[in-house]
């Protein structure tokens, strides 16, 4: 509940028409399409929602909340439960009125934008001047500012356009006490071109690898790096998703590659990316593609032993890539290099340019990452098991492990059968490092599936820790409490930063640095024992890391 006095102050901060505590309105924020693992609970309902229209209004709002002992949680475009409150004293700060692309600096290749600009909007504007933006895997409806400043940042285009946090060139940041901090050159009135300095950079505090998910304030503007787009100012497209038909530019190639085994695949992928061929690069299991495009067919295929072994065996090692070029000569060079790599590692390259209806359908689904919603088709929900971004080899190890864990839970009826091999893999910055998350699909109406979610999460987390990798922990206060002692007690440092910047505890830090106990009773006893052993083995003492 929010007091009348506090509510009045929120109205004064942003205008009465931009605040609500109507239960029906609040419930629209309490369901998000991803990571809503409990259909009864949804996520915690905010006590009110406020929609500021400017940095000044955000400041006034945050100060008002501080005076009344309430917390804030910022919401840009939303998507996952990660933008939702984690306790029952939180006001949802919906930033949808801050929706302007303030500037696109064509010469210096960056944009300045507000939180509610989505990836598709920015891409459409950037393409008009021969530029493009990184779009995250959650899709083009998501906010580039949110992922650059506060949350995750992987996408199919990472091979060329990097990880969201790496593209942040400056930010305007309303701190939990309501003061504004301008980062980098912006803070010295020198414009938006550099996000760091003078002096020590705050980039690590702003977001680290994952982001503070509004746990350290609200970002109201950001400068984000843009990238070359040699295609037309507008890719004419009719239809959506599987019905989409785009005019394919002459200087674009869309290829599917298959390799005889893992060793050849990995070496070829290193070569492909070191040769700087790709604009888009991803590796996804063929079964995964079928499961999202034709989920009913998938159910039949899982029982067809020969087809199944062909998909998970002969066609297991593959990748998809898009190449673009500024000239015919550049494209000819790229095609020759790709063919040479295929020859060297026994690969098969399928250039979809010849199959016009197919490439017309695929093109913007990949370039704009619009294909993402179809992943919900099979069961209605999906979740993912992440390790830490690292070399391609380590990510392939994670993918192989994921198949083993998933197959066990598929056999138990805990998740849907997508032939188990369903990794979402990308390469960052021409394979400087790689990413793998193992996707699993489930039906939230199925009690067996809901019961399997937590044990599966624990098992994946254990597998990551045993490999000295960090599991998907940043958003789970229970797991953070377990793994923080194994990673130099990082939560304690985050809590010190939070305490320094947020004395009144106005930010919702549930997904940033809070810790709560993990009840492992639901977990298989063998897994629990393994977890206890690994905790004992890897935990730091006061003297430092374990021997």
């Amino acid at each position: 509940m929010i007091s009348d006095e506090a509510y009045r102050e929120l109205e004064e901060a942003v205008g009465p028409e931009n605040v609500s505590r109507e239960p029906a309105v609040l419930d629209t924020y309490a369901w998000q399409p991803f990571a809503n693992d409990n259909p009864e609970r949804w996520v915690i309902r905010p006590v009110a929602v406020a929609m500021p229209g400017s940095t000044e209004e955000v400041q006034a709002l945050v100060k008002a909340l501080g005076r009344h002992g309430l917390k804030f949680k910022a919401f840009s475009t939303g998507w996952g439960a990660y933008s939702s409150p984690t306790s029952d004293d939180v006001v949802q700060v919906d930033l949808r009125r801050m929706d302007r692309i303030i500037d696109i600096d064509e010469k210096n290749m960056y944009t300045v934008l507000e939180p509610y600009v989505c990836g598709a909007q920015l891409q459409a504007e950037a393409m008009k001047v021969g530029l493009n933006t990184h779009i995250i895997g959650a899709g083009p409806s998501c906010s580039p500012l949110a992922s650059a400043t506060s949350a995750f940042g992987v996408g199919w285009d990472c091979v060329y356009m990097s990880y969201s946090g790496r593209n942040l060139l400056g930010a305007e940041w309303v701190l939990p006490d309501g003061e504004v901090l301008r980062l980098g050159t912006l803070g010295s009135d020198c414009g938006w071109f550099c996000g760091d300095g003078p002096g020590p950079s705050l980039r690590g505090i702003v977001r680290g690898s994952t982001g503070a998910l509004s746990g350290l304030g609200i970002f109201t503007k950001a400068a984000i790096k843009l990238f070359n787009w040699p295609g037309p100012p507008r890719v004419e497209t009719d239809g959506l998703l599987l019905d989409a038909q785009s005019e394919v530019p002459e200087n674009v190639r869309f290829c599917m590659c298959f390799w005889p085994d893992r060793k050849n695949q990995d070496e070829a992928i290193y070569k492909i990316n070191e040769s700087e061929l790709c604009y888009i690069f991803s590796r996804t299991g063929l079964g995964a593609t079928i499961s999202i495009a034709a989920p009913h067919l998938m159910k039949h295929l899982t029982g067809a032993s020969t087809l199944r072994s062909m998909i998970t065996g002969d066609l297991k090692y593959g990748c998809t890539l898009i190449m673009v070029a500024d000239s015919d000569n550049e494209m000819a060079y790229k095609e020759r290099v790709l063919k040479e790599i295929a020859k060297q590692y026994g690969g098969v390259i399928i250039d979809l340019a010849a199959a016009k209806p197919i490439i017309r359908m695929f093109l913007m689904n990949f370039l704009r990452s619009t294909a993402v919603p179809v992943v919900f088709r099979m069961g209605g929900q999906m979740f993912t098991a992440l390790d830490r971004n690292d070399t391609w080899d380590t990510q392939m190890d994670w993918a192989d492990m994921g198949v083993e864990v998933k197959q066990k839970w598929i056999d138990r009826g805990g998740i849907l059968d997508d032939m188990a091999d369903n990794p979402y893999m990308v390469s960052y910055e021409d394979n400087t490092w790689g990413h793998c998350e193992e996707i699993f699909q489930y039906d939230p109406r199925n009690p067996d599936h809901l019961a399997a979610l937590e044990p599966l999460f624990v098992e994946f987390s254990l597998e990551a820790v045993e490999r000295c990798m960090e599991p998907l922990s940043s958003t789970d206060a229970r797991l953070r409490k377990i793994i923080s002692p194994m990673m130099g007690h990082y939560t304690q440092w985050q809590q010190k930063i939070s305490g320094f910047m947020d004395g009144k505890r106005t930010a919702d830090t549930g997904m940033y640095c809070d810790e709560v106990d993990f009840d492992l009773q639901k977990v298989d006893p063998d897994i629990r024992t393994r977890f206890e052993k690994v905790i004992e083995k890897f935990s730091w003492t006061e003297d430092g890391p374990p021997e």
């Binding site: 239809g239 019905d243 067919l297 032993s305 002969d314 066609l315 390259i349 399928i350 010849a354 199959a355």
Partner: protein, 128 residues
């Protein structure tokens, strides 16, 4: 009868080495374009039709594949694939291939052949 691992890949690799994949992708694309033109269906509709395949259809294909080992072994032969590639350069072969593919797609998508759908089968493969 289980299919020997790697056999399908070997056929694909041989087809790739001799440009058969590129050539057949082009012909499949032309056939698909004709089907879409004739029926008004979109790619998404075709994918959805594929999604509606019945279990017995899938199992029939599975059995066929399971028994096709010897044939695949032959198909993976480079000399044979080189011959197929050369054949696919002939206009008449291209037209026939497109017509066959178009007919099969039409039957799968609409349950009828191109002529029954009101199109002139002789025009099949014009784009080839």
């Amino acid at each position: 009868m289980a299919l020997k691992p790697g056999l399908v890949f070997n056929v694909m690799a041989s087809a790739y080495r001799h440009d058969v994949i590129d050539k057949s992708m082009s012909l499949a694309g032309d056939a698909m374009d004709l089907v879409m033109h004739d029926t008004g269906l979109k790619v998404g509709d075709l994918v959805n039709k594929m999604d509606e395949a019945r279990n017995n259809t899938v199992m029939r294909i599975d059995r066929l594949l399971a028994w096709s080992g010897p044939m695949l072994k032959v198909a993976a032969n480079d000399r044979l694939m080189a011959g197929v590639s050369r054949m696919l350069d002939f206009k008449v072969v291209k037209k026939t291939t497109v017509a066959v593919l178009r007919r099969a797609m039409m039957r799968a998508a609409m349950g009828k052949t191109p002529s029954a759908a009101g199109s002139d089968p002789a025009s099949a493969g014009l784009g080839a």
